[in-house]
C-alpha cells in the first residue's frame, strides 16, 4: 500500500498531516515531517501537498552513489542511514521536492507510506491505495 493524495482541491492547509508525520516518529514540532503543504502562490488558489508519490522506477534511488536508497515493495524507497553519506543527490533528483532533509544528521527524510497521516487529515485529502491503481485524481 502507498500513500496517495486523492483530492488536493479539498486541502485547507491545516498542516495536520505534517504534525502527524512527526508524531509517528515520536517527535513533536515540524522538523522531522516527511510531508509538506504549501499554497499555490497564495492561499486563495489552494494548496499542493508535497510527499513521495511512490514512482515506478524512483529517480532518487537511481542517483544514490552508495545504494542507500532501495525501492520498497508497494512503492516508495527505503533509506539505509548507515550507507547514506548525505550528498543530497536524491533531493535534487526528486522534481516534486518530496525529499525532506534532516538538518541535524544531514540525511534525507522520505515518506515510508505508513498511512499514519491519513487518519489525521480531517478532509479526506489523503488516502491509501494499492500500487497498481496509480490513477490520479490530482491534476
Amino acid at each position: 500500500m502507498r500513500l496517495a493524495v486523492l483530492e488536493t482541491e479539498k486541502c485547507v492547509g491545516c498542516q495536520l498531516c505534517m504534525f502527524a508525520c512527526s508524531r509517528r516518529q515520536n517527535e513533536a514540532g515540524l522538523a522531522k515531517s516527511c510531508i509538506g503543504v504549501k499554497s499555490i502562490g497564495g492561499m486563495e488558489r489552494g494548496f499542493s501537498v508535497i510527499v513521495c508519490r511512490a514512482c515506478e522506477n524512483p529517480p532518487c534511488a537511481k542517483v544514490c552513489p552508495t545504494d542507500a536508497l532501495t525501492p520498497r515493495e508497494g512503492g516508495g524507497v527505503h533509506v539505509d542511514l548507515e550507507k547514506c553519506i548525505g550528498c543530497g543527490h536524491c533531493r535534487e533528483a526528486c522534481v516534486i521536492g518530496a525529499i525532506y532533509w534532516d538538518d541535524e544528521i544531514n540525511k534525507p527524510m522520505i515518506c515510508i507510506h505508513c498511512g499514519f497521516c491519513v487518519n489525521f487529515c480531517p478532509h479526506g485529502v489523503l488516502g491509501m491505495e494499492k500500487k497498481k491503481e496509480i490513477e490520479h485524481a490530482s491534476k
Binding site: 485547507v12 492547509g13 491545516c14 504534525f19
Partner: protein, 590 residues
C-alpha cells in the same frame, strides 16, 4: 517548563538601529505561560508611561504559547501594543500560520521597537533577522505586497507573512495587519503602529522539534483533542457554515444591529446569511495551522469588466460574521455581492472591518440628520445599501482629503468630539461596537472588557443563554463576566482559539501543561488568570482609563433589545461593581 523549550526565547528587534538579540525569559513564561500573559508583562516592561502610540518607543509585542505547534487549535498569535485608536491597551489576536511559524522559528515572543527611516520589512527565521528595503512595496495593497514577499522569501509552507495595506501606512487609527491574506490582527490599530514604524511586513518561518515530558502521554492527549474537535457539534457548526452561521439566529433573536442600530433586525438578513453565501459564493475553505475545524470561508466573486465583453475577474474574498454585521447589516447592504465588494476593499486597504463599518454607519446617519452635509463628505451622498458611496467614502477616509475624513480616520469617539452626534455613535471604551444588540451582557461586556471586544467575556452569549431565562442583578452579571474574562486570560495565554473553549476545560489544560513540562494545577490556572486580568487593568489605569468616564451611547436604549433589562442605571451599577472588584486587587482609577 522544559529547559530546552525554545518558548522562553524572546527576540528583541530594534528597527532604528537594525539590530536584534535573543534573551531567555524563563521568568516570564514560567509565571504567565505565554500569549496574553507574557505579552502584558512585556508591555509593562517595554512601553513607557504616556508614550506616543506612533513613537519609536511604542513596542509591538507578538507572543505564542506552550501548546502551540504541539496540540490542535493553539493557533493564535497575541499582539500587544499601545493602541493609537484608544490611546490605551492595544491587544489583538490573529490565526493563520502566524503562531506555528513563530514557535517553529524558535521563539515564544517577538518585541519590535524603534522606527525605520525608510520603509522596510523584516524576515525572521531560525537563525537570523533580515532587514529588507520595502520602498517599492510602500503604497501597495495587502494582496500585492503579500504576493511580492512570497516570491522573494524562502520558507514556503512554513511561514507567516504579516503585512499592512494603505490604511496602516496612512496611520488610520483602526488599520489592521493581515496575515495569510485572510486573517487579521483587526482591532485597535496594530496596522497604524506598523505604519508609524515604516514597517510594511514581518515574515516569520522555521521548523524545529519541541520537547515534551512524556511522548506516550503526548500522543494520547493529541488524539483525544483531535477526536473531540472533529466530533463536537460546536466545531461542526463552524466547520460547515463558519461564523456566519450566526446571522439568522441573531436576526431571529432580534439582536442583529441594523442601519446603525436604528433597528435590531434586518429584513434582508437571508441574502447575507451563512447559508446563502455558502450556496451562491463559497469557493474555498481554509484552516489555521494545526486546526482540524477549518472555519475560514472564502467566497468566489465573478464579475464582468464593464468596458470589455467576455472579460471577467474572479476575486476570492473571505467572509465572517463580524464583517457581515459591520459592512452588511449596519450599512443596510441588501445584496451579498455588494457586501463582498466592500469587504474586498477593506481587505486590500487593510482596515478593521468592524470599526470601518460602524464609522460609515454613523456618518450615514449623521448625514441623514443634517449634522454633516455634502460639504464635509465632498459630495458623497451616503445611503444605506449604496455600496459605491461607501467605497468612495472609505477611500477618502484613507486618503484624508479634508478635515472631516481626517476625523473619521481616527474613529467615532474622536469624530463626535468635533461634530457631535454622540447619541448614535456606537463605540464602547473608544472601540466601535461588535455585532450584538442582545442585551445588557453584550454592552456591559464590551464596556468592561480589557480590550473592549465582544470576545473578552462573551456577554452576548450570556444574554442568549442566561439572561433570556432569568434576571440578574448588575453585580451578579459583572461577576459572571469577570469570571469568564479571567478564564479567557488562560485560554489566550495558551493562544487557544476561543471556538475550542468547550474542549479545553481547566482539567485538560492543566494536564496538557504537565505534559509540556509546566507544573500547574487547576487552582494555579485560576490564580494566574486573575493575575493577568489585573495586570491588564493596571496598565489601563496607568494610561488614564476611567470606568467613571465611560460614554454610553443612548441608541442602545432607544432600540429595544431582546433582553429588556437594559437601562443606564443598570449599566452604571455594573461599572461601580467592576471598580469594587479591582479595588480589592489594589487597582484604582486615577
Amino acid at each position: 517548563m522544559q529547559v530546552n523549550d525554545p518558548l522562553s526565547n524572546v527576540l528583541y528587534i530594534d528597527l532604528s538601529k537594525r539590530t536584534f538579540e535573543v534573551k531567555r525569559r524563563d521568568d516570564i513564561f514560567e509565571r504567565y505561560l505565554g500569549g496574553t500573559g507574557a505579552a502584558i508583562k512585556l508591555l509593562h516592561e517595554e512601553c513607557p508611561e504616556d508614550c506616543d502610540p506612533h513613537g519609536p518607543e511604542n513596542p509591538i509585542i507578538f507572543t505564542v504559547g506552550p501548546l502551540t505547534a504541539l496540540f490542535p487549535l493553539a493557533s493564535k498569535t497575541v499582539a500587544m501594543f499601545k493602541s493609537p485608536h484608544t490611546g490605551n491597551l492595544g491587544e489583538s489576536h490573529c490565526g493563520g500560520r502566524s503562531a506555528v511559524a513563530i514557535r517553529m522559528a524558535g521563539y515564544g515572543a517577538i518585541v519590535i521597537k524603534g522606527t525605520s527611516d525608510i520603509p522596510i520589512y523584516i524576515s525572521i527565521d531560525n537563525k537570523q533577522v533580515h532587514f529588507r528595503d520595502a520602498t517599492t512595496l510602500w503604497g501597495m495593497g495587502s494582496f500585492s505586497s503579500g504576493r511580492v514577499i512570497r516570491e522573494n522569501e524562502t520558507g514556503a509552507g512554513l511561514r507567516t507573512i504579516m503585512r499592512i495595506g494603505k490604511a496602516g501606512e496612512k496611520l488610520i487609527s483602526y488599520a489592521s495587519v493581515i496575515s495569510e491574506t485572510y486573517r487579521h490582527f483587526g482591532r485597535l490599530g496594530l496596522g497604524a503602529v506598523f505604519g508609524s514604524k515604516k514597517l510594511k511586513a514581518v515574515v516569520v518561518s522555521g521548523k524545529s522539534s519541541l520537547p515534551v515530558v512524556d511522548m506516550k502521554q503526548y500522543r494520547k492527549a493529541y488524539n483525544e483533542i483531535y477526536n473531540s474537535a472533529v466530533k463536537s457539534p460546536v466545531m461542526k457548526k463552524y466547520h460547515d457554515l463558519g461564523t456566519p452561521e450566526n446571522v439568522l439566529p441573531l436576526n431571529e433573536f432580534g439582536g442583529l444591529p441594523t442601519r446603525n442600530l436604528k433597528e435590531a433586525q434586518f429584513e434582508k438578513a437571508e441574502v447575507i446569511s451563512g447559508e446563502s453565501l455558502a450556496e451562491h459564493y463559497l469557493g474555498r475553505r481554509l484552516a489555521c495551522s494545526n486546526c482540524p475545524v477549518g472555519c475560514i470561508h472564502i467566497a468566489a466573486l465573478r464579475e464582468p469588466y464593464e468596458d470589455e465583453a467576455y472579460f471577467y475577474k474572479t476575486t476570492m474574498i473571505s467572509y465572517d460574521y463580524e464583517p457581515i454585521y459591520a459592512l452588511g447589516t449596519m450599512l443596510g447592504m441588501n445584496s451579498a455581492k455588494d457586501y463582498l465588494r466592500l469587504m474586498d476593499r477593506v481587505e486590500a486597504w487593510g482596515i478593521d472591518a468592524m470599526s470601518a463599518g460602524v464609522v460609515l454607519a454613523w456618518a450615514t446617519e449623521a448625514q441623514e440628520k443634517g449634522i454633516i452635509s455634502e460639504k464635509e463628505t465632498l459630495d458623497v451622498k451616503l445611503g444605506w445599501g449604496d455600496v459605491q458611496s461607501y467605497i468612495t467614502a472609505l477611500r477618502n477616509i484613507i486618503e484624508q482629503p479634508n478635515e472631516f475624513y481626517t476625523a473619521l480616520a481616527r474613529g467615532i469617539e474622536h469624530t463626535i468630539s468635533i461634530y457631535g452626534g454622540e447619541d448614535f455613535a456606537l463605540a464602547f471604551g473608544g472601540n466601535e461596537m461588535p455585532g450584538y444588540h442582545t442585551g445588557p451582557g453584550a454592552h456591559i461586556g464590551t464596556l468592561i472588557g480589557t480590550r473592549h471586544s465582544h470576545l473578552d467575556n462573551a456577554g452576548y452569549s450570556f444574554d442568549q443563554k442566561l439572561l433570556a431565562k432569568e434576571e440578574k442583578s448588575p453585580e451578579d452579571l459583572v461577576d459572571i463576566l469577570v469570571e469568564e474574562e479571567i478564564w479567557r486570560q488562560i485560554l489566550s495565554s495558551l493562544v487557544i482559539c476561543f471556538f475550542a473553549r468547550g474542549i479545553y476545560s481547566p482539567e485538560l489544560v492543566s494536564r496538557l501543561l504537565n505534559i509540556t513540562g509546566f507544573d500547574v494545577s487547576e487552582a494555579d490556572l485560576d490564580r494566574i488568570g486573575r493575575e493577568i486580568y489585573v495586570e491588564k487593568y493596571r496598565f489601563k489605569m496607568r494610561e488614564g482609563f476611567k470606568l467613571d468616564d465611560m460614554r454610553i451611547p443612548k441608541r442602545i436604549f432607544e432600540t429595544p433589545s431582546p433582553i429588556k433589562q437594559l437601562d443606564e442605571a443598570y449599566i452604571r451599577k455594573a461599572l461601580e461593581h467592576v471598580k469594587e472588584i479591582l479595588a480589592q486587587e489594589g487597582v484604582f482609577q486615577n
